[in-house]
């Protein structure tokens, strides 16, 4: 049995659009208007959720909770995330 790699989240938080394709992060907070915040939340973008950037560009594609979302960069820049890193041997410590 291979044990899943432990994941640690490293502060500080950065906007979602600063990730590169394939990277995962955890949403730390969202700084958008109430309306936009609600739209993001109903689609799953919400504090504490894990999010993966699938495809860069504007709009970009992210994966969250098994579903794929298209999101414009302007909105993505309002979503602050803390990047997760797999603590592989070379990277850690």
């Amino acid at each position: 049995m291979i044990k899943p790699l432990p994941i640690t989240c490293v502060p500080p938080s950065a906007p979602l659009d600063s990730l590169s394709a394939g990277e995962s992060a955890v949403v730390s907070h969202v700084e958008a208007s109430d309306d936009d915040m609600r739209r993001l939340m109903t689609l799953g973008i919400c504090t504490g959720r894990r999010i993966e950037l699938v495809q860069c560009g504007n709009p970009m594609i992210v994966r969250i909770f098994g579903s794929r979302l298209g999101i414009s960069r302007r909105l993505a820049s309002r979503v602050m995330v803390q990047q997760c890193r797999h603590n592989s041997t070379t990277e850690s410590l």
Partner: protein, 551 residues
Amino acid sequence: MTPPTVLALNMIDAADADGIKIDVAGLAIELGCPVIPVSARTGRGIDDLKRALDETLDNHTARNPTTLQAAMACHACAICPFQNRYTWTEGVAKRHAKSKTEKPDRHTEAIDRILTHPVGGLAAFLSVMAVMFYLIFQLATVPMDLIDHLFVTLGSVVAKWIPAGDLQSLAVNGIIGGVGGILVFLPQICILFFFLALLEDTGYLARAAFVMERLMRRIGLPGKAFVPLLSAHACAIPAIMSTRVIEDRRDRFITILIAPLMSCSARIPVYTLVIALLFPRQPGLAALTFLGAYAVGIGMGLLAAFVMKRTILPGEARPLVLELPRYRIPGVRTAFLHMYDQARMFIKQAGTVILLISIILWALATYPKSETPQEVHDMRAEAAQLAAAGDTDGAASLTKEAAHHEDQYALANSYAGRLGRFFEPALAPLGFNWQIGIGIVTSFAAREVIVSTLAVVYGVGSDRAEEEPKSLYDNLRSAKRADGSPVFTTATAFSLLIFYILAAQCLATQVVTRKETGSWKWAALQLVYMNVLAYAASFVIYQTLRACGIS
């Protein structure tokens, strides 16, 4: 207290296809309510769902879902009501759903790499739209001919029941003709919405909105506005109703305001007529002009949106966030249901308004009644003589000609004719005479009416124009003004084409705009800005062409 609950576990077919096993019994225990796996698309499990609903209703001791209650209570959470729900949902999913495959959306990801690509995605979008519109126009011809034929037959049957006179004319020309003239576009609308529903179900429409977002954002419109703008190429009425998918009020209102600038089906007969006058023997140029007419409509629409976004409804487009669902085989059943809903809405919304407008315009073109001119009496007398002499063919054609002369005379003296004459000074700088003015006035029932109006005004009767459109084109081409110069010069024809691309003439559209925006203000704005735009553009085109020596 939560009322007794039954959980319908939808899209179970998709879960099966992906190899996701759901422990329905375990889920029911955890949630504390019956769980019925269903597929709305295929109809699977719907009977079980009905049975479960009946049982729950009959059985008053049904358990209330305790966990669901707890989950719903998250409304009270101070930090984020959504966060707890998502954590809870994730937990439930982990406990009761087992997936065999690591990444079930592998195919979706591969397809999306092409369909959401900045270049490839746009090429795919244009191809899909081209194929769809080709199919719409191809498939709609037969049912459209059928509907047309049906209303003509209905008209002649009713004409037999009701004695000749105003009532017959109202029933046949006003009501049956007017309603038939709009219902003839129903097949196109149905097919369009059928295809859109299929595309939606495959998951492609979300990608199309995603791709269009890149382009439309520059103008200030959201990518989602493309569906209404696309539908507007069949008819602006269902298009305006379908703007409800746009979340932002300003974005939605601008889409509503510009939708009627897209070339709808009712403009096609007018384009065909004018282009036949312009390029009778150059099919290449004719096809190019046709495409050009569509491009002008789209271009002006986007320009209008650009200007409005910076003036009356300022603000950036609401940024995009939308789900890109898994691709799947579309369900024909749901597409049919969706199409049926849209068709019913179109008939309900447009039907009554169009009926009213048809009756008003019929009255404008019929009243006041004028005396039958002496010329017509002479022709009828001559026809009677011919018939007495045994020349039935000659008599029949002369009678027909007399009837047409009478129609022409009556129309010219009707309120519509007077309005045409009244507006002639205003229309002259666009190259239009009062006969074209009548055509424009009657177009307010529906644009294509100008074709039959011109057929009555110029030479051929409206029946003959339908049987052999060439005779109408020939007559229009040889029509002369009072000073002997031809009416339909290149400059006039181009001016008329531009006018019909841009003008707001379908009053039913304004009524729907009023309904959707909740205020006559927007409907009035739509009517005024489009007609001012049409007038200005026709003026520029006509005067420029004349100045360049093209007439």
